[in-house]
C-alpha cells in the first residue's frame, strides 16, 4: 500500500487562509465551543457555590473528569474516524476483571494479569473493528452487540471462576504497591492531593492532539471519517485505520481499568454500564460530529471537564439531591448549546 507524496486536499480541509486573525483561527477550532461552555459552567458554579472555589475542590472535579476523559480521548479519535463504540464502558470493567481473575486464579502474578488484560482489551477492540469490516454493519449495531455480550460475560465468567460476583482483594499480592504507584498513586502538589490519573489524562489528550494534527496517521483518521471511499481511492488504508482506532479504545479502557483496579482493590462485575454514553457525550460536547471527520482530542478533555464540574458542582452548590440527575442533564444541555452557538458564530464570520 503506497501513499501519494502530496495528498490533494485529504486531511487538510480545515487549514484556513493565512491572513486570518489569530483569535478567529482559535475560534474556528472544533474545541472552541467546548472551551466557551467550560468557562461558562466554571463561572456559574464559582459564583453560586462557595466550596467550589477551593483548590481541593478543583482537583476533585479534575479526578472525576479524568476517569471519563481517559477513554473519551480514544473515543473522540474513533468518532473522528467515523465510528462509535458502545462497548467502551463495560469493556473497562471487563479489563479489570480479566486482570484480577487471571492474576488471582490462574497465574498468581499481578503483572501477568495486567499484561493479559491488555492483550484481552486490544483483542476486544480488534474484534469490534474486524466485525465492523466483515459485516459492513453500522458500528452502532456491532458494538451494541459486543456491549451486551461483555456485560453478560463479566458476570457469568466471574461467577464461574470465582464463585462470587466480585473479584477477590488483590491488595495483598506481590507487586501491588508498584502497580498502585504506576496506575493509581496520589501526589501532593501545592498542598493538595492530586491523583496521577489526571496527569495521564492530560498526557493522552496532548499526545492524541499531536497525532491528529501533525502526523500522517492523523490525516488518515480525518480522511477515513470524512470521506471513507475517497480516502481509500487515494490510498489510505481504511480498514487498518478503523481496526487500529477500535484497538486504541481498547487500550484506553485497559488503562482506566488498571487505575480502577489498583485504586479500589476489588471490582464489582456489574460496574461500568452506562459510562460509554458519557465518553461519547464528552467527545460530542468537545466538538466531535456524530457523523465523523471532524472533532478534536482537546475538545473531549474539555467535554469530560464540563461533565466533572457539573456532577460535582451540583453537590458543592448543595442543591436538593432528588434533582441531581436533572441538574446534570440541564447543565450539559446548556453547555452544548453554548458550544454550538459559539461554533456557528465563528464559522459564519469571515
Amino acid at each position: 500500500m503506497t501513499t501519494t507524496a502530496q495528498q490533494p486536499g485529504v486531511g487538510t480541509p480545515r487549514r484556513q487562509v493565512q491572513s486570518q486573525a489569530f483569535w478567529r483561527r482559535i475560534l474556528k477550532r472544533p474545541e472552541a465551543g467546548a472551551l466557551g461552555g467550560a468557562v461558562l459552567v466554571f463561572l456559574f458554579f464559582y459564583i453560586i457555590a462557595p466550596p467550589f472555589r477551593q483548590v481541593p475542590a478543583f482537583t476533585t472535579v479534575l479526578y472525576q473528569a479524568s476517569t471519563i476523559g481517559i477513554p473519551a480521548v480514544a473515543v473522540a479519535m474513533l468518532m473522528i474516524g467515523g465510528e462509535f463504540d458502545l462497548s467502551a464502558g463495560v469493556a473497562v470493567t471487563t479489563s479489570s476483571l480479566a486482570a484480577a481473575i487471571f492474576a488471582t486464579k490462574v497465574v498468581d502474578s499481578i503483572w501477568i494479569g495486567v499484561a493479559f488484560a491488555l492483550v484481552f482489551s486490544l483483542a476486544v477492540g480488534a474484534l469490534n473493528g474486524y466485525l465492523l469490516i466483515r459485516t459492513r454493519l453500522h458500528s452502532f449495531l456491532v458494538t451494541l452487540g459486543t456491549f451486551l455480550m461483555l456485560q453478560g460475560l463479566n458476570i457469568a465468567i466471574t461467577k464461574l471462576i470465582t464463585g462470587n460476583v466480585a473479584t477477590g482483594d488483590i491488595s495483598q499480592m506481590a507487586g501491588f504497591s508498584l502497580g498502585q504507584a504506576i496506575f493509581a498513586s496520589n501526589f501532593t502538589f501545592g498542598g493538595v492531593q492530586i491523583s496521577i490519573a489526571i496527569v495521564y489524562w492530560f498526557l493522552f489528550a496532548a499526545l492524541a492532539t499531536w497525532v491528529l494534527l501533525r502526523t500522517k496517521v492523523g490525516n488518515w483518521i480525518f480522511a477515513v471519517g470524512g470521506q471513507g471511499d475517497s480516502a481509500r481511492a487515494v490510498g489510505v488504508p481504511v480498514r487498518r485505520v478503523k481496526i487500529g482506532l477500535f484497538m486504541l479504545v481498547g487500550f484506553s479502557c485497559w488503562f482506566l481499568a488498571m487505575h480502577l483496579l489498583f485504586a479500589y482493590d476489588t471490582v464489582q462485575s456489574g460496574a461500568g454500564i452506562g459510562n460509554e454514553l458519557l465518553y461519547i457525550a464528552a467527545a460530542v460536547v468537545g466538538g466531535c460530529l456524530l457523523t465523523g471527520g471532524y472533532g478534536s482530542a482537546v475538545g473531549s478533555a474539555l467535554g469530560a471537564f464540563i461533565f466533572g464540574m457539573t456532577t460535582e458542582g451540583v453537590i458543592y452548590a448543595d442543591w436538593d439531591p432528588d434533582w441531581f440527575q436533572f441538574f446534570v442533564g440541564a447543565m450539559l444541555l446548556l453547555a452544548t448549546v453554548v458550544n454550538s452557538w459559539i461554533r456557528e458564530r465563528a464559522m459564519r464570520g469571515k
Binding site: A57, T60, N154, T158, A166, A263, Y264, G270, G308, D322
Partner: protein, 317 residues
C-alpha cells in the same frame, strides 16, 4: 459480496447456536416436584444479591425444587418478570416488593392463578396489604432506627446517608428510620450504581461542601471502602458505618477502620423465602404468625467481626 455475507452470517449463527446448546446442557434432575421463581430488584453483579441467591439455591437443593432466578433493578421490568413467570405456570414465587405499586397488578394476576407468593428483603410494610403469604427479611425502618440510636450514642452531629438506588423503598425506609431516632442533622446523598470513581468524587465533594460532616452511613457495603478513600482524600475526620457486609468490610471492621455493619443475613432471606414456599405447598404451613420473619438487624462490630469473617470469606454472609 453475497457469498462473503453468507459466510459471516453462518459463522455468527453457528457460534450462537453452540453457545446456546452449551448453556442449556445443565443438569436437570427428573425428580424435581415443584418449580419456584425468585424475582429480585438486584443490580447485576452485586455481592449482596449473590449471597441471597446462594441461600435460595441451598434451600432449593435441599427441598429438591427447580429454581428460576430473575432480576432487574427497574420497577417496570421487575413487574414484567412477575408476569413472565406467571405465564410459565410456576408453582410458587418469592419476590422482593421493592416497587410495590408497580408490581401490584402483576402480583394480583399471579394470585388469581393460585400461585402462592412469599415476599422477602423489600416491602415489609406492603406485603400484607398485597396478600402475600409471608415475608422474610429485615424491617428496614426498625434497622434504620437502630442505626439512629447508635449514632446518638457515638455522639454524631452531622450525618450523610449514602443511597445507591434512588426510589427503592427499602433504602428510603432505612434513611427515614435513621431520621426518626437520630437527634442531629441528616442528609441523603444519591449515587448511581457501582461506578466507584463517581462515588468517591461525589462523597469528596460533599465533604468539601460541608466540612462539619462527622459520620457517613452507606446503604450498601461495597461503597464503604470507597467512602473511606474519599474521607482520606478530603482530609475529613468522618467515621463510616454501613448496612450489609462484604468480606472486605468485615476485615476493615476488625481493623477498626469501619465502625460497624448492620447485617440482615441475606443468605437466610433467600433460604427462608424458598423454604416457606415449600412448607406451604407440602404441608400448608406458614411462618411468622401473621408478622414478618425477621432476619435482622444484627450489628457486626470490632468485637464480633472475627466470628463472622470466616462465613463472609466463604461468600455466605
Amino acid at each position: 459480496m453475497i457469498e462473503h455475507w453468507r459466510k459471516s452470517v453462518l459463522t455468527v449463527a453457528g457460534a450462537a447456536l453452540a453457545c446456546a446448546t452449551l448453556l442449556s446442557a445443565g443438569p436437570s434432575s427428573a425428580a424435581e416436584k415443584y418449580t419456584f421463581a425468585m424475582i429480585t430488584h438486584a443490580q447485576p453483579g452485586d455481592t449482596f444479591w449473590d449471597i441471597i441467591r446462594k441461600g435460595a439455591n441451598a434451600a432449593a437443593k435441599k427441598d429438591n425444587v427447580k429454581l428460576i432466578y430473575l432480576a432487574d433493578p427497574t420497577a417496570t421490568k421487575e413487574a414484567q418478570l412477575i408476569q413472565n413467570v406467571t405465564q410459565q405456570h410456576v408453582d410458587g414465587i418469592a419476590l422482593t416488593l421493592a416497587f410495590p405499586d408497580a408490581e401490584a397488578n402483576n402480583v394480583k394476576a399471579a394470585q388469581k392463578q393460585g400461585i402462592p407468593i412469599i415476599g422477602f428483603n423489600a416491602g415489609v410494610d406492603q406485603w400484607k396489604e398485597q396478600g402475600l403469604l409471608g415475608y422474610a427479611g429485615q424491617d428496614e425502618t426498625v434497622a434504620g432506627k437502630a442505626v439512629g440510636e447508635r449514632l446518638n450514642k457515638e455522639g454524631a452531629k452531622n450525618v450523610v446517608c449514602l443511597d445507591q438506588q434512588q426510589g427503592a423503598v427499602q433504602l428510603e425506609a432505612r434513611c427515614k428510620g435513621i431520621k426518626e431516632t437520630f437527634k442531629g442533622k441528616m442528609e441523603v446523598l444519591y449515587v448511581t450504581g457501582y461506578d466507584m470513581p463517581t462515588v468517591k468524587a461525589r462523597v469528596q465533594a460533599k465533604l468539601q461542601q460541608d466540612p462539619s460532616i462527622d459520620y457517613i452511613v452507606t446503604l450498601g457495603a461495597p461503597f464503604a471502602p470507597t467512602v473511606l478513600d474519599a474521607i482520606t482524600a478530603a482530609s475529613s475526620k468522618a467515621k463510616v458505618g454501613t448496612f450489609d457486609m462484604t468480606p472486605r468490610v468485615v476485615g476493615m471492621i476488625a481493623d477498626g477502620k469501619i465502625q460497624w455493619a448492620i447485617d440482615q443475613q441475606p443468605y437466610v432471606e433467600g433460604y427462608e423465602a424458598i423454604d416457606m414456599l415449600w412448607l406451604y405447598l407440602t404441608n400448608g404451613d406458614t411462618l411468622g404468625g401473621g408478622g414478618p420473619v425477621l432476619t435482622g438487624p444484627f450489628f457486626v462490630t470490632k468485637d464480633n467481626a472475627a466470628a463472622v469473617a470466616k462465613y463472609a470469606k466463604a461468600g455466605t454472609r
